[in-house]
């Protein structure tokens, strides 16, 4: 049962992600990316990490994708613009040249990364099951990882100031 659910969610995530790249209309890409995030949330539930799953929906699918939608609507490019001639000579027809190079690079990276990780890389710690409890996440986040938590606020501050400054300049 779990295995079937895993393959369904994984298939949705992979297919949706591939289609994101293949779309001409950026609006469709955004919707497919949301679908992919939804499937990822399903995978997190299967891993007994419901808090991560819900956070995935709230932050990624619910907040960041709304920002993406607004940016797509703000720029309002219904179709991809053709690249200038100098660039398109480099990219090859329909960007195939650079696409092939990048895929080869990515493939090499994945093979390299997988060869370094054995199956025993992630120990099956019985205590790991406790991740499912939000209270335990809180207890660990606000004690052991307190510094990382406080550092996040500085990160958020930088993002906020950046957003305000960028928007002001556009004005």
């Amino acid at each position: 049962m779990d295995v079937i659910a895993f393959y369904i969610f994984a298939a949705i995530a992979v297919v949706a992600s591939v289609l994101v790249v293949g779309q001409k209309n950026p609006m469709h890409s955004v919707m497919l990316l949301i679908t992919s995030f939804g499937a990822l949330a399903g995978l997190y539930v299967l891993l007994d990490a419901p808090f991560t799953a819900v956070t995935q929906i709230i932050i990624y699918a619910g907040a960041i994708m709304v920002l993406f939608l607004f940016v797509v609507m703000l720029l309002n490019v219904p179709r991809e613009e053709p690249a200038p001639p100098a660039v398109s000579a480099l990219l090859g027809p329909t960007g195939i040249r650079i696409g092939v190079i990048l895929s080869l690079l990515l493939g090499a990276e994945i093979v390299w990364a997988l060869s370094r990780i054995g199956l025993g890389w992630f120990p099956q710690d019985p205590a790991a099951a406790s991740v499912s409890s939000v209270a335990l996440i809180g207890a660990s986040l606000f004690t052991r990882h307190a510094f990382a938590f406080e550092a996040t606020s500085v990160l958020i501050l930088v993002a906020m100031i950046g957003a305000v400054v960028l928007a002001r300049r556009e004005h």
Binding site: V66, V134, G138, T143, E150, I156, L157, A167, H171
Partner: protein, 119 residues
């Protein structure tokens, strides 16, 4: 515990299927006689001028950006709220420090007029 999430999924599927079925069913039973005038976007009876997908105010982008930022903050609040009993005063001080840094950004955005809607 995992099985307790299945009904949510079933519920969503039922709702989506119900909506899709009703719409398709209505299409099948109703008379469809489209013509060029009917398929114009509505503009109070005047002929539609220009494309609707025009560029719009940068404020929407700014609001969305601030929303992402504060949403991250809100999500941190949930595990903190649940485990406050265990964290005790240390937890409160920690959250006050976290929020203090955010409040600096909040007032910066306020002073710079990011929260004003009027142009």
């Amino acid at each position: 515990m995992l099985t307790s999430y299945v009904p949510i999924f079933i519920f969503i599927v039922i709702a989506a299927a119900f909506a899709a079925f009703t719409i398709v069913f209505a299409r099948l039973v109703s008379a469809q006689k489209p013509n060029a005038i009917k398929l114009e976007p509505y503009e109070c009876g005047i002929e539609a001028a220009g494309d609707a997908r025009d560029r719009y105010s940068i404020r929407y982008y700014l609001i969305a950006m601030l929303f992402v930022i504060f949403d991250v903050e809100t999500v941190f609040m949930f595990p903190w709220a649940v485990s406050l009993g265990k964290l005790a005063v240390f937890g409160l001080i920690e959250m006050l420090l976290f929020l203090f840094i955010l409040v600096v950004g909040y007032f910066y955005a306020w002073r710079k007029g990011a929260l004003e809607w009027q142009l």
